[in-house]
Symmetry: C3
Subunit: 343 residues, 3 copies
């Protein structure tokens, strides 16, 4: 690819005549070779980038330097992400079209530009849009609809009637549309399984990590909003809705019917009880246990989840707790002595 193509794609100017350089990838300063572009997402990497072998560097506007061809942009990290997408290998892993070893129901409608890997099962009345890339040994059960340019990696299970948006990415081992964990308990304390009649909707540009499980709703759908990013091994229970552009790190679990707002950032191994609301633009720290509604823009952590500063103060204080106990005993003793004296 010509350097000029990258510059145009990320909206950076280039000195005349420099755009014809051939570029074969984008990488970190430390692993860069002369045929690659690198980037400076934090000024602490500036020196490394200068000394790197890279043929060009994406830098923040005004931070260009003379040692290298510099592509100046507003946000080098975003521009790196965009440039990296240019180098992504989008060819289907198992060839174009429907692999002869795929098992496709005759009523399924698969766009001619889509690819379906070997061993993948496509059920009745499934619709798969243009340019979708579906890996090997997936199961796409009856009635599933997938938009355009979605990427379904090998080994994904999409259960019946789920709806997957355009450009969505679902990684290997993810399960979409499992039953919710709903059980009624009878007088003998036996559980009666509650069937789920809802579906799962994954909206455009959402991404689901490896071995993440998303349960279908009871009556209403479970919804993963537009542009939501879910990491690996996340549990999303029935009737949860996650609004657009929220990101959730690995191993977090969200219990039934909880509503997560827009642009929320949730760290790893967080747990949420059911039936609560998490406000837009809030931030939830790693390993937090969230049992109440969270205000928009709030930053909470800990279990029970509290304001970040409060939790940090409690943590710091708790280290002094053993000494505090001793000190209070000492105070008691000395006070008793004083009381005796003062009688």
């Amino acid at each position: 690819m010509k350097l000029s193509a990258i510059a145009v794609h990320i909206g950076a100017a280039l000195p005349d005549g420099c755009g014809s350089v051939d570029v074969f990838g984008i990488t970190s300063p430390e692993s860069a070779s002369a045929d690659k572009v690198t980037f400076v997402s934090d000024s602490k990497y500036l020196e490394q980038a200068k000394k790197s072998a890279a043929c060009a560097v994406i830098v923040k506007k005004g931070n260009g330097f003379s040692e290298k061809l510099c592509l100046e942009v507003d946000d080098p990290y975003v521009s790196y992400a965009r440039a990296a997408q240019l180098f992504e290998d989008l060819s289907p892993l198992f060839g174009n079209g429907i692999h002869p070893a795929a098992i496709v129901d005759t009523t399924a409608e698969i766009d001619k530009s889509a690819s379906v890997g070997p061993g993948t099962v496509v059920g009745a009345n499934v619709k798969i849009g243009a340019n979708c890339r579906i890996g090997a040994n997936c199961v796409i059960e009856r009635g599933v609809k997938i938009g355009e340019s979605a990427r379904i990696d090998s080994g994904v299970i999409i259960r019946y009637d789920s709806q997957i948006g355009s450009r969505a990415v679902i990684q290997s081992g993810a399960v979409i549309g499992s039953d919710g964990f709903g059980n009624a308990r009878n007088r003998d304390k036996e559980f009666i399984r509650i069937p789920c009649f809802g579906i799962v909707i994954i909206e455009d540009d959402a991404e689901i990590g490896a071995c993440t499980t998303i349960d279908r709703g009871n009556f209403e759908p479970t919804i993963i909003g537009k542009g939501v990013k879910l990491d690996n091994l996340i549990h999303i229970a029935h009737n949860v809705t996650i609004d657009e552009n929220t990101a959730i790190a690995a191993q977090t679990g969200i219990s039934g019917s909880t509503k997560v707002g827009k642009r929320v950032i949730i760290a790893g191994q967080v747990g949420f009880v059911g039936h609560i609301n998490i406000g837009d633009d809030s931030f939830i720290g790693a390993k937090a246990g969230v049992s109440k509604d969270i205000d928009p823009e709030a930053k909470v952590t800990g279990y029970p989840a509290r304001d970040f500063m409060t939790v940090r103060r409690i943590e710091a204080s708790s280290a002094q707790l053993p000494d505090l106990l001793k000190e209070v005993k000492a105070l008691r003793k000395e006070l008793e002595l004083l009381k005796e004296k003062s009688v």
Copy 2:
């Protein structure tokens, strides 16, 4: 389905002549249409149910009202669960019988009434009972026995010699019979893998969630008891036994050889050390870390797991800890002044 059939199934009386109404589903008051039944599991939903479009309402005995046809029962939530099962679509997702694209060993015995989806591999000497429904791309390794009317969803892996009870449900991505995590450490601090010779037994009516993993025992089996309900992404280590009618929420992990009693309720993201006993009818709160035996009927939470009230008191107190530190310093100062005076 006729309303009368539902009434009979849940043991509710109906006014004469009302049973002939045709019903096409059961749902929440808010999503009900005129061809559906709804239910009131909590009196706070009563008004909503009255105003809903539903043709009939399941309510607690004595709480019937004139606005709707009411089906009065002892426990509306249990009756809702039972009624919902009537509307479940039990038809196999990939057609009756053994799909031509299933890969079945000639020595496997599969009941004629069972269904096996495309891409599913059935190994040597496997037995699959009547009315089992097995999805697509499962693997059922050699020697596995499955009772009657079990439901094995697409993408489940059941490893060799596991035993699955009747009416058990195993959801997509679950792994039954993986090796236990057993390693001996030699003088050079290298690990020597310990092979597992035990199996996994999943008893009747048990349910295993998506991407839950259950390790086989070392010598004795790992046992998931009758009617046990496991949510998604749970880890059950080797030689664990879970006794009947216990329920465990998502992302909980149970270490090797721990015994969980009957009717225990375990919330999400709990961790248990190995070789402990969890008493019948106990309750373990979310994110608890359990490192000791738990008494029957105990309610514990936190890490280390302690009595609920104790933990709540500690949590509340800890918020006052930073102020407490200041107060104790002030007390010390004032006491010293007093002591000087009193000399």
Copy 3:
């Protein structure tokens, strides 16, 4: 198998003429029958072993007894592990060679001694070494290299270009080489997905548990070192490296670019932030949240992770916190009275 073969394998002496006993397995004292060997890994099991039906017992040197044939060794638990491996059934679960229902790209090179199960997909340019045993319905994407004698269980997904060492074990449902969770956030707070160009390297003798997910690196590889043991449902993020002979229990998560040293022991449900270093021979307790570098040989637990003794002291003290609050209030009151008196 002759008892003498076991004795030779674990380096134990046997009285003359005893080696010809036929042995059909190794098991715990309580489940031993007369055709099996047992072992005493802890002296508390000594009496049980004496009374067991076992034909021979592996014991610590000097602890032999007259009731049974004793195989005396330096470390009975290690010797048990080694002896158990002699009894492991190494025959492929779905027969020798490439199963006719496997789907193998013509460019793949599979050693004649390897076995590949039905439904398993092997992509272009894959190399599989001698004596590898690959289960059913796996996906081994293009460019993957697997050493000798590796065991890949049914349902494993190994994504493109991953490298798997000799004698590695990868259990069912594991995903190797999923994309890292990297997203740049633009001015509108939308996430731009960052493609990953790195791979995953799993070195010799490493073991990966069921449904564990290992993300590929951004540029550099994610590395699971020689002899590393990972339990089930673990999340390893992009660019993590885990050095040799480290063991990690279930449901632990390690964030991007964190480096874990050699011979580290990590308990279950631990979380690590990204970009930190965990020293050699350290120990991390269950459910710990590790947000800073850990020194070699340190033992930490809790969240934030601190020295074990400190955490235990804080835990013990915290139980006294509610009483402490009351006591400090009482002290304040009594001090005020004294102050009034002393005026």
